[in-house]
């Protein structure tokens, strides 16, 4: 057994906890690396000046006052859905049904606006919208939660499937309530009467949504970190056996947390339909239910951190749209850049948790 032995050049070892400034330095370096890579890819593939591309990305979000408001509104809506999934995620319950829960909330809201118009005073209609949206979202999350608590079904698949049911329901009602006839779409609901339109701050179309979500963000942060229920969520998430051992009723916590999760998704649907869009389409949630998963994970389920991660994702998304139109590039090119940036940021976590050690005296033969 006289085979040649080679000493490996390096090996990977787990790091001790790094001080916070070092972890942020690593993340900053990752972002910088991402920008350099994006620039290189851009010049190589398209021949465009990378700085012009960066400028366009920036302008996509901050170019005009209107664009800034749209940016903030998009952040708020994405953050709202992210806040919704976070309590469930902290419980290690993978609610991938936020899309459907928000959609069903939007449907409930639209239903109130359309069917109750003229039959109830406006304030009562708005109250019905709020209650029914939250309830609809909660029920949509409560169904998979019930089966998980009772029969230990897989919540990931169950919630995912519920998305399609919700999408089909919305598609059906879009035809039932179509306006004008034959268009297959609902159009702006109560455009002339503005019945059921949630009142806005004067000439600030998005401010209400942004404020609601900001308050919600703080509330969820306090709920998760300082309330008894938040503590139970954390314990159940870490170990169901420990939870049972101290007498926590795990089934009840799962159900309660998923109902909360669904209700907040319902709120997102309410804000989308009742406050800004005043219409209902099957694509009104725009994939936020899935992007929210990434927002929540990137921020390690910390609601305050999610403000930054949702900003990052919305900013990149809008920048991608801008360069697509400005340079006549395919929108997919923007997605490539987003991919590079996310790859670097997520990849940097590896270097925060592990270090690569060079082997001393590498190359010597045994």
């Amino acid at each position: 057994m006289n085979k040649k032995t080679k000493t490996p050049l390096f090996h990977v070892a787990k790091r001790a906890a790094l001080p916070w400034y070092k972890t942020w330095a690593i993340r900053g370096a990752a972002l910088l690396l991402a920008l350099v890579l994006c620039g290189a890819v851009t010049s190589l593939v398209t021949g465009e000046n990378p700085f012009a591309v960066y400028g366009a990305i920036w302008k996509g979000s901050f170019g005009t006052t209107r664009k800034i408001w749209v940016l903030l509104q998009n952040i708020a809506m994405l953050l709202c859905v992210s806040l919704a999934v976070t309590p469930a995620f902290r419980m290690r319950c993978w609610n991938l049904g936020a899309e459907g829960q928000a959609l069903i909330g939007a449907l409930a809201c639209a239903a109130c606006m359309i069917t109750l118009a003229g039959r109830l005073p406006n304030w009562a209609i708005i109250l019905c919208m709020v209650v029914s949206s939250l309830l609809a979202g909660a029920v949509w999350a409560g169904i998979p939660a019930f089966f998980k608590a009772r029969y230990n079904t897989n919540e990931t698949l169950f919630t995912l499937m519920m998305n399609y049911v919700a999408a089909q329901l919305v598609a059906y009602f879009c035809v039932v309530w179509e306006s004008p006839k034959g268009s297959g779409t609902i159009g702006i609901i109560n455009q002339k009467t503005e019945i059921g339109w949630i009142p806005q701050f004067p000439s600030q179309k998005y401010l209400l949504n942004i404020l609601v979500v900001a308050v919600l963000c703080v509330l969820i942060y306090i709920y998760l970190n300082y309330s008894k229920q938040g503590y139970e969520i954390a314990v159940v998430g870490e170990s169901e056996r420990t939870a049972r051992y101290v007498g926590i009723k795990v089934e009840r916590v799962i159900l309660r947390t998923m109902l909360l999760s669904g209700a907040i998704c319902g709120l997102a649907g309410l804000l989308l339909v009742g406050s800004t869009n005043h219409t209902l389409t099957a694509s009104i949630v725009d994939g936020r239910g899935f992007t929210a998963v990434m927002v929540s994970w990137l921020a390690k389920f910390n609601p305050i951190g999610m403000i930054f991660t949702s900003f990052l994702l919305v900013f990149l998304g809008r920048g991608a749209g801008e360069i697509a139109t400005k340079f006549g590039l395919n929108r997919s090119f923007g997605d490539i850049l987003t991919g590079i940036i996310l790859f670097c940021i997520i990849g940097s976590e590896f270097f925060i948790n592990y270090e690569i050690k060079l082997t001393r005296g590498a190359g010597k033969e045994g």
């Binding site: 057994m1 032995t5 080679k6 000493t7 490996p8 090996h11 070892a13 787990k14 790091r15 001790a16 906890a17 300082y226 309330s227 008894k228 229920q229 503590y231 954390a234 314990v235 870490e238 170990s239 056996r241 420990t242 049972r244 051992y245 101290v246 007498g247 926590i248 009723k249 050690k357 001393r360 045994g366």
Partner: protein, 509 residues
């Protein structure tokens, strides 16, 4: 025999995990035809050192030589090629496969189970193993599984064998058998390393002993030139008294009365069969048995965590009131005013939350107190500080996640929390498993002080020597049935061992 070439030479081996120095410039020689006991407290780096030899970890610094030739071991496969085989504490076997299938699993070349089975029988005959090559793993006892692991390594041609705490799961009789086999292998010229922290095993089995402390090599010597006291002192670093106190029980009165308790698991297998006994206040009732004889189910049934098929578990208060505990969950039992504390076997998976800090773990029992929607964080952290001082928990701070603590400190956190709410019943499962000598004695003292307070203690243990020294009475379980209850003082280890393997224990050997 000073001039023989070492089978393994480890020079200057250093291994770090983050800031923890697991091995610090360790030198170790392993010789053929010799059984080396690698002795050390928990966290002293025994397993880490051997894992580097078997290719699981890669050393940060240092060199390894086999038969005088420097080698690099990057993976378990490299280790196998060099004839090194390790038998881990946790077996790595596929339950639904037979012994033979497990043994040839992963080997290259044509699959020929018949030839393999024949070769396995030859190995078994040569060393005195008893294993049926065609038996499925799920049909096997723990000791049979261990045998399969050993045969697996031998089958692959290992002549340097490392066993990581092999006796932790065995009865005294099975241990004797294993030791006989190991001696046969030694006489056949194999190099054998056994990792342990049980002193009497070192004395009966090994030829040479090497001692590690805090990752450093302290010394090695022929076993016959030393004794338990000296080895213990070297392990711990200062003189230790090796006696466990057994104060007289104080005013024992019935506290927990278990009658005809029968428990089935989810698959319907009987785990406890018609078990009856009474636990007294101010007394430690030891529970002995081979692992999996129903100890876990018994404690969990009392704690309200295990559904019960039939029988009764009654709590008898100081005032004579009786409370039925069956059908109540831990919260309901607490609401009855029964102060029941439970130190479960699975500390980080059940008793504590590994990712939470000490303060948050203290809160597990108390977070419900008060009517507020919010948790009271001040008192648990105050308690955490008290516990750290009182039980000498070594931790950077009370904000350190408990999974970062060593095994002994994790257990101190758990025991500390469980005695903090002044229990009247204390259930402990393997309270000192994996703990070093200092921590173990601290736990014994703590349990004894609870006994003196008039607590009824149920102590499930695996080390018979400790059970015999610590407990006032010992209940022996065998296959879910009560094999007998013997008084602790004067009980014979051999008799209890017999009762563990055979109902009543009156064997005809």
């Amino acid at each position: 025999m000073d001039n023989k070439v070492a089978a393994v030479t480890m020079r200057n081996i250093t291994k770090r995990f983050g800031t923890v120095l697991a091995n610090d410039r360790v030198w170790l020689n392993i010789y053929r035809g010799e059984i080396l006991a690698l002795l050390g407290e928990n966290g002293s780096g025994k397993t880490t050192l051997m894992n580097m030899l078997s290719g699981i970890y890669f050393p940060d610094e240092g060199e390894i030589a086999i038969d005088g030739k420097p080698v690099v071991i990057r993976s378990p496969r490299d280790a196998f090629d060099l004839g090194i085989g390790m038998i881990h504490q946790h077996f790595k076997l596929v339950d639904v496969l037979s012994a033979t299938e497990n043994i040839v699993l992963g080997l290259e070349g044509r699959l020929d189970l018949k030839t393999a089975a024949r070769k396995i029988r030859e190995i078994c005959d040569a060393y005195g193993f008893e294993v049926d090559p065609n038996q499925k793993i799920y049909d096997m006892s723990v000791s049979q599984k261990q045998t399969v692991e050993i045969v697996k390594v031998l089958y692959r041609g290992a002549d340097i064998l490392i066993l990581d705490e092999p006796t932790a799961v065995l009865t005294p009789q099975e241990t004797d058998k294993l030791f006989a086999v190991l001696r046969n292998m030694r006489d056949d010229g194999k190099a054998i390393v056994i990792i342990t922290h049980k002193m009497h095993e070192v004395e009966t089995l090994s030829d040479r002993v090497a001692i590690l402390r805090n990752g450093q090599f302290i010394g090695d010597m022929p076993t016959k030139n030393t004794n338990a006291q000296e080895m213990t002192n070297m392990m711990v670093g200062h003189p230790v008294v090796l006696n466990i106190n057994r104060p007289e029980p104080v005013n024992p009165r019935p506290r927990i009365e278990v009658k005809n308790l029968t428990v089935r698991d989810i698959e319907g297998a009987v785990k406890l069969d018609n078990v009856s006994f009474t636990a007294m206040s101010g007394e430690i009732l030891g529970i002995a048995g081979i692992s999996g004889s129903g100890q876990k189910e018994l404690l969990e049934a009392i704690a309200g965590l295990q559904p019960v098929e039939s029988g009764s578990i009654e709590y008898i208060g100081d005032d004579g009131r009786r409370e039925q505990l069956i059908g109540k969950d831990p919260l309901a039992i607490k609401e009855l005013g029964v102060a029941l504390s439970f130190v479960p076997e699975d500390r980080l998976g059940m008793g504590l939350v590994g990712n939470m800090d000490i303060g948050n773990n203290m809160m597990l029992r108390s977070y419900r107190s008060g009517r507020s929607f919010f948790t009271n964080r001040r008192d648990p952290y105050k308690l955490a500080h008290q516990m750290v001082d009182f039980l000498e928990i070594s931790t950077p701070s009370v904000e350190t996640p408990v999974r970062r603590l060593s095994g002994g400190n994790v257990q101190k956190v758990l025991v500390g929390r469980e005695i903090a709410n002044a229990p009247s019943v204390l259930l402990t499962a393997y309270a000192v498993r994996g703990l070093d000598i200092n921590s173990s004695y601290l736990i014994y003292d703590t349990i004894n002080s609870q006994k003196m307070r008039g607590v009824a203690v149920l102590y499930v243990g695996e080390d018979l020597d400790v059970l015999l020294e610590l407990c006032d009475r010992i209940l022996v379980l065998c296959g879910g049935k009560v094999s007998g209850i013997v008084p602790g003082p004067g009980a014979k280890k051999r008799d209890v061992g017999m009762m563990m393997t055979k109902l009543g224990g009156n064997a005809d050997e």
